[in-house]
């Protein structure tokens, strides 16, 4: 591989994607001390070493469980190693030691006694050592369990704090929503008040429109009468009680209908009305009417007698609802 090929292979080397032969070549090159490739390898291996931190974390097994198993495995391994190391010819060594200052005849007895003594001492020391080791392991397990419990307590306390914070946020949110709802309700009340005002205005406008339509209808009626070729006009003049008042009546021979228009009529006293009379042989009521704000009246009359039979029209002031015969003051009168 050329140097360029090795450089290109370093990312694959760092993540472990090279074949054995390629890996050997790259490692051999790194051992030559190539600074550029060392830096590259260092950086890419740092990248590879970070990859596990991109995984979703999983809680590890219980610390006490793993550590107890580790220590147990280690102790077993040590024991098996110690067994192999024993058997160093202790008897020969002790005999050699004693031969220099004890009689040869007593040496076997002394050797046996010393051997028993040393064996007993060794056994006692071994048992003591095991007891201490067991106690240390138990203490370690207790400390580990205590540490785990403390860790769990700390985690629970942290969870509790987070829950409290979430609750506080929720409370704040609810208060905010309540404030918003209150504002919306106030705005709704304001809008309803505005709507009432608009409704009143609309009602007033509708009344005005109705009045205008009525006036327009009356004008149309008058125009109809004026356009008719069969219309005859009768004028009524004001009597003594209403000298400035006047009226005219447009009579249509074809339809026997008439349009009556009065003006400058005095305002009606309470409980009174004007009544129009057609005098044939005697007064016949042609209808009652009131005046508008301009002291004017417009009335369409139907089913009138033939005009040739009517000698006169008159208007009198009568009680509300009218009377069969004139009882009040005459305000207008006119000959046909």
């Amino acid at each position: 591989m050329t140097h360029e090929e090795i450089e290109e292979a370093i990312p694959l080397y760092a993540i472990g994607a090279l074949e054995r032969s390629e890996r050997t070549v790259v490692e051999s090159h790194l051992l030559t001390g190539c600074g550029t490739c060392h830096v590259l390898a260092k950086e890419y291996q740092a990248v590879a070493g970070l990859l596990p931190f991109g995984l979703r974390s999983v809680s590890p097994p219980s610390k006490s469980k793993i550590l107890a198993a580790v220590f147990e495995n280690a102790a077993s391994a040590e024991q098996s190693g110690a067994a192999v190391a024993d058997g160093l010819g202790f008897g020969a060594w002790i005999n050699e030691l004693l031969s220099s200052f004890i009689k040869p005849s007593l040496q076997p007895v002394i050797s046996v006694v010393l051997l028993i003594l040393l064996t007993g001492t060794g056994w006692y020391a071994w048992m003591t050592h095991r007891q201490v080791a067991d106690e240390a392991a138990q203490r370690e397990q207790i400390e580990t369990a205590l540490h785990d419990a403390s860790t769990r307590t700390a985690a629970l306390q942290q969870d509790l704090r987070q829950e409290e914070q979430a609750l506080a946020s929720l409370k704040e949110e609810v208060e905010h929503r309540i404030g918003t709802v209150s504002d919306t309700r106030n705005k709704l009340i304001e809008r309803e008040a505005e709507l009432d005002v608009v409704r009143e205005e609309l009602s007033r406008r509708e009344q005005e429109i109705a009045g205008l339509r009525k006036a327009l209808g009356q004008r149309d009626d008058m125009l109809t009468f004026l356009r008719s070729a069969h219309v005859k006009v009768v004028s009524l003049a004001g009597a003594e009680s209403a000298k400035s008042a006047g009226a005219f009546l447009l009579y249509d021979h074809e339809t026997k209908k008439a349009f009556f228009y009065a003006f400058n009529m005095p305002a009606l006293p309470p409980g009174k009305t004007y009544q129009l009379w057609a005098i044939v042989d005697k007064p016949m009521s042609a209808g009652t009417f009131r005046t508008d704000s301009g002291h004017k009246s417009r009335v369409v009359l139907k089913d009138l007698p033939d005009l040739s039979r009517i000698s006169q029209f008159a208007v009198s002031l009568e009680p509300e609802g009218g009377r069969p015969q004139p009882t009040g003051t005459i305000y207008l009168a006119g000959q046909t």
Partner: protein, 194 residues
Amino acid sequence: MDLRNSVSIDSELLLLIAKGDRRAFGKLYDQSSQVLFTLSLRMLGDREEAEDLLQEVYTEVWRKSVRYDERRGSTMAWLITLTRSRAIDRLRARASRGHGITDSIDDAPIADTQRHDQTPFDQQADAEIRVMVMKALVELPTAQRQALELSYYEGLSHSEIAERLREPVGTIKTRIKLGMSKLKVALQPCWDTE
């Protein structure tokens, strides 16, 4: 477990462990077990076997911590390499009757640290590193991420990945190179000591 501790371990711990200090060993477990178990479970896919692997790794650490050479890399990098190596051994044993997998990276050296005495794990890293790694992985094209994961978590070589995906070897090599290059750029702040 404190996240900061999960990415950075005091190398003094291994010196104490080498002297038989069980408290130091317990502390090492606290600081490293989560990421090692997460890695084990991801590679083996079986919780019981992952627990067994974790126990094997820590037994080895307890017995052979004296072999750790600080000059070859951080403590966490050594633990991850050890865990991944043992996991690949198990995967290889599991697949011994089927397709072979790549050689163990047991002996793969952690790069010399003449100029970079501290790897990202030794820096005062925090949870931002996890977020940065996740983000960098998510932003990789799916094909590149898949090639990296097959190599790293399943121990497959480029030719084995090519065979599994039915793609040319050159394509797989390119995907791995591009993916690693993008990760290096994205994760540069993790070990940038400046």
